[in-house]
């Protein structure tokens, strides 16, 4: 069959989503994409994170090789100049000419700049693309003050960006309140108070007449009443559909802009479609990403003739966090529906404002405004979207959660209820994925994309998961094993709160049976995390897993490997010589590890104490390579030697390694410190990564290498040494308290409801009031650290366990080696068989 030519104009979030949706369906198109920007589609919703550390790559929405793999012709940095609808031909700005069968306009919108005299002065910016942000960043380096013109949702985002760049920031809004589209007047006022308290000055009801040279600063904004000086000006006065191309081509456009489309996104030319912010449907523009994604999905199906699902409009409710202030707006927030009644809760002290808009019979929810606390957003949205009957007293839905607050159980929701509006995932869709095996939040997110765009529905997704698993009777027995009817987190709290120090006590009080190789090591790890008692103490030794049991790493032949600590990977030639001597004396196979240490293999259990003695005498200590514990803190050479280094990464790595050495946790922990942004220590693949900046340190968390690589996420920027350590203390102890058994920080983070921002709230803003407790717990572990090897070789009782046989001091003669490349190694099976024949012949 002849392929049809499909031309997509624009590669923004919606255009890209259309490509992705198409690539999952069988279709008959040769696809060409015009992308005006130098970068393919990226996440504009989280644009402001570009200033708080996210890189352009991290914001990218395009998987590597996506265009190649899907045979899409991608024209970078080329826009469409004109369209000839009669000849069905598009002309690119760089001379490309494409004949199309079907064309999709996904040109999005542009920021509206009011035609105030002086609007085009140098140092006036808009906030839409990464190029805009680069320009703002360059300019801001020489500025002290910045002003955002426009106090809507985007304007406040932009104000955060300016404030992140270190500018003293003002917001000027023409309307008498902030976020006039989403909030009512009182909600706007509360938001204003909160934002002012964060150091951003808000000027409401100001109409800017002109912009002229300032006296102290570069610019002066002249209002009808008064003036304001600033070095940098950022316009965020709303968006306008980019419909010029369509206009020139003769397509029908709306009075106030936007390409008019029908329910199937067809423009006045039936072979030309429009979706996203350029499309005008029933005289409405949808300026959020969720409706755009919905359009992309429906258009993809339409183009593939899969379904005739018509567009029926979109809910414009939003929940977001502006400069740390939670704001939510649902449905008819301004109570414009006839007969609408309202009910308000306000706490002026905490800065919390909640308003419900209900129907005149008080039976259904029409809208809501939430400022300062959006914890009720998810359930309120479901009430509104599904027209669920309200409780007798609707105000109970927004009152502070005391006992008896009516909970909207997810069970009450119909299967059609949309849980994730960004990706149009219904409750039924989630349930289907759960049935087919997605039984963790991480798997469910990956499969359905729910909660993966704005993350607002994460807690609801979790509730659906839990309830559905329970309903289907899929054994989500989260018990750690048959001996304890609780999770690892549960055990941890029992141990800590009841000050339990032995397994017998724990088993007697909270378990049954004798324990097993699951719960015993878990308990041992928890005891160590809480009390730091010697792991080979007679009361604890029987709990230790294979490697902890002998403070070394068991190898396939029953011998062990030994890894001394080499903090930060820094080692003197003298100490290297000691390692060489020990390795020679005991004939140990020697290998450099990935963590900048040296691993000595092939030690028999009876040799371990002698090896440790030699190492300890030379100033080495245990490297805990055997423990679910801090392993290594890798570092680059840093500013001491490197031409590019900006901080002493080795010094910091050694400090961090010595602080957290021996720390036992739910799984192993790896860290790294890089001395500059070149990141030679690969800190972004570690549980804790530290990267030097000109001003201090950037902290990254929850990365992983290995089987499931995951980039660490930027957690906090430009920290001084003390703050850095304080955050790591809190982060690690919170992980230890809340992770599952053998759960690395990366998986822990993927399953965390509320995601990174929740973690930041807990660690940075102390939202749970735990910070000082977590720090104290860590300090006590730091203070009680002892080298386990040294402790063992000084303890005759502990040493008894290292005899080869209880009734015989001759070593195990069955441990034998062959030699390869100048070192020993265990024989392979066929070599072993040969050896045993020879042995028999000898006998």
């Amino acid at each position: 069959m002849k392929k049809l030519q499909l031309l997509i104009v624009g590669n923004g979030m919606v255009g890209q989503r259309l490509l992705e949706d198409l690539s999952r369906m069988p279709h008959v198109y040769n696809i060409t994409v015009f992308c005006e920007e130098s970068r393919a589609a990226y996440d504009r919703v989280h644009l402001s994170s570009y200033f708080s550390g996210a890189s352009a790559d991290e914001l990218s929405l395009v998987a590597p090789e996506f265009f190649e793999q899907n045979d899409i012709r991608f024209l970078r940095e080329e826009a469409v100049q004109s369209i000839d609808c009669l000849r069905k031909t598009a002309f690119g700005t760089r001379g490309t000419i494409i004949k199309y069968d079907t064309l999709v306009l996904a040109t999005g919108s542009y920021p509206y700049v009011p035609p105030i005299p002086g609007h085009d002065r140098v140092g006036c910016h808009v906030y839409r693309t990464l190029d805009d942000l680069d320009a703002i960043r360059r300019d801001a380096a020489n500025c002290r003050t910045g002003v955002v013109i426009g106090g809507g949702l985007l304007g406040l985002e932009a104000a955060k960006a300016l404030s992140d760049l270190g500018l003293q920031t003002h917001v000027v809004e023409f309307a008498p309140q902030l976020m006039a589209v989403q909030l009512d007047q009182q909600g706007g006022a509360i938001l204003r108070n909160k934002i002012t308290a964060l150091g951003v000055q808000v000027h409401n009801g100001k109409s800017t007449q002109k912009i002229i040279d300032g006296d102290q600063s570069r610019h002066k904004l002249v209002f009808a009443d008064g003036e304001l000086e600033a070095d940098l000006i950022l316009f965020s006065a709303g968006i306008r559909p980019r419909d010029a191309l369509a206009r020139d081509a003769g397509l029908a456009v709306g009075e106030r802009g936007g390409v008019i489309v029908n329910d199937y996104f067809q423009t006045s030319d039936p072979d030309i479609y429009a979706i996203g912010e350029v499309a005008l449907w029933q005289n409405k523009i949808f300026g959020l990403v969720a409706p755009g994604y919905d359009m992309a999905r429906k258009l993809a199906a339409h183009l593939c003739q899969q379904s005739g699902e018509a567009f029926t409009g979109a809910d414009m409710s939003t929940k977001l966090k502006l400069m740390g202030v939670e704001v939510g707006s649902i449905g008819d927030a301004q109570a414009r529906s006839p007969g609408a009644r309202t009910c308000v809760y306000e706490d002026g002290v905490k800065g919390v404002y909640k308003k419900l808009i209900v129907s005149d019979d008080c039976k259904t929810l029409l809208g809501a405004v939430l400022v300062g606390d959006t914890s009720d957003y998810d359930s309120l949205l479901q009430y509104m979207l599904n027209a669920l009957p309200l409780p007798e007293s609707p105000s109970s839905l927004i009152l502070p959660s005391l006992e008896g607050k009516p909970m909207l159980g997810v069970d009450a929701l119909p299967g059609t209820a949309q849980i994730c509006s960004c990706n149009n995932v219904s409750k039924a869709g989630l349930c289907q994925a759960i049935t087919s095996g997605c039984t963790t939040i991480g798997a469910l997110k990956k499969e359905t994309r729910a909660a993966s765009t704005c993350g607002g529905c994460a807690s609801l997704v979790k509730q659906v998961l839990e309830s559905e698993l329970k309903r289907q009777g899929i054994a989500v027995n989260d018990h750690i094993c048959e001996h304890f009817a609780c999770t690892r987190q549960g055990l941890y709290h029992l141990v800590r709160i009841n000050k339990i120090r032995t397994f017998d006590e724990l088993l007697q009080q909270h378990g049954k049976g004798h324990g097993c190789e699951i719960c015993k090591p878990a308990a041992a790890s928890i005891f160590a995390s809480c009390w730091n008692d010697f792991v080979l103490d007679p009361k604890l030794v029987g709990l230790q897993d294979t490697n902890d049991n002998f403070l070394a790493n068991l190898q396939k032949d029953g011998s062990y490997s030994v890894v001394p600590r080499i903090p930060g990977g820094e080692i003197t030639p003298q100490k290297l010589e000691v390692l060489a001597k020990v390795a020679q004396q005991y004939d140990l196979y020697t290998k450099i590890t990935g963590g900048q240490r040296i691993d000595l293999f092939g030690a028999r259990v009876d040799q371990l104490p002698m090896i440790w003695r030699d190492l300890v005498d030379a100033g080495f200590e245990s490297g805990h390579a055997y423990g679910k514990a801090l392993r290594t803190v890798k570092s680059c050479v840093g500013s001491s030697w490197c031409r590019y280094g900006v901080q002493d990464s080795v010094g910091m790595a050694i400090y961090v390694e010595e602080r957290y050495r021996g720390l036992r946790s739910p799984h192993k922990l790896k860290m790294a410190v890089s001395g500059c942004t070149r990141e030679c220590a690969e800190a972004q693949s570690k549980d804790v990564g530290i990267i030097a900046t000109e001003k201090g340190w950037n902290l990254y968390v929850c990365g992983n290498g290995g089987m499931r690589p995951r980039h660490a996420e930027l957690f906090a920027s430009d920290l001084d040494d003390a703050t850095l350590i304080r955050y790591i203390d809190r982060f690690l102890m919170f992980y230890i308290a809340t992770a599952d058994r053998l759960q690395r920080t990366s998986v822990w983070r993927d399953n965390m409801v509320g995601g990174l921002s929740y973690l930041q709230d807990v660690v940075i803003n102390d939202s749970l009031g735990l910070a000082s407790e977590l720090e104290a717990q860590m300090q006590s572990l730091v203070d009680t650290y002892v080298c386990e090897w040294k402790r063992t070789i000084e303890d005759p009782e502990a040493l008894k366990r290292f005899r080869p046989f209880v009734n015989d001091d001759l070593p195990d003669e069955q441990i034998v080696y062959v030699r390869e490349r100048g070192q020993k190694r265990p024989p392979r099976a066929e070599e072993k068989a040969l050896a045993s024949i020879e042995h028999e012949e000898l006998v």
Binding site: C516, T546, N549, L554, F805, V806, N807, D808, I815, K832
Partner: protein, 119 residues
């Protein structure tokens, strides 16, 4: 080696003192050229072969003790298969087992003895 009692085809060997095994752990012992794993669970003393048929290494004495649905077991420290302390049977694979030995505690609860049947 001290041989304590000899009948026609049964021998009890003194292996070690009770104090030589920390409660909840095991030790390796050598008896007639065989390697044994001897455990004190706290509720009794058990002996099975020390050779782990899955890894081919003499390591079972270093495994973790516990119970699976009431059956007392040791988990191999290498690949974690379970062996019944009383019978030596592998719980994961009915085809596989390790030898099990009878034990007793003598001399006013101070010494551990193991019975080995001669062939």
């Amino acid at each position: 080696m001290l041989i304590l009692e000899r009948s026609t085809n049964t021998t009890w060997h003194d292996v070690c003192a009770m104090d030589d095994i920390i409660v909840g752990t095991g030790v390796a012992a050598r008896l007639n050229g065989e390697q044994l794993a001897v455990f004190n669970t706290g509720s009794g003393v058990f002996a099975i072969g020390n050779f782990d048929p899955f890894s081919g290494a003499n390591v079972l004495a270093r495994g973790l003790l516990g119970d699976i649905a009431g059956v007392l077991v040791v988990a191999s420290p290498v690949y974690k298969q379970h062996f019944c302390l009383k019978t030596g049977q592998c719980l994961e694979d009915p085809e596989i087992s390790v030898p099990a030995y009878e034990t007793r505690i003598c001399d006013q609860s101070k010494r551990i003895q193991i019975r080995v049947d001669s062939v």
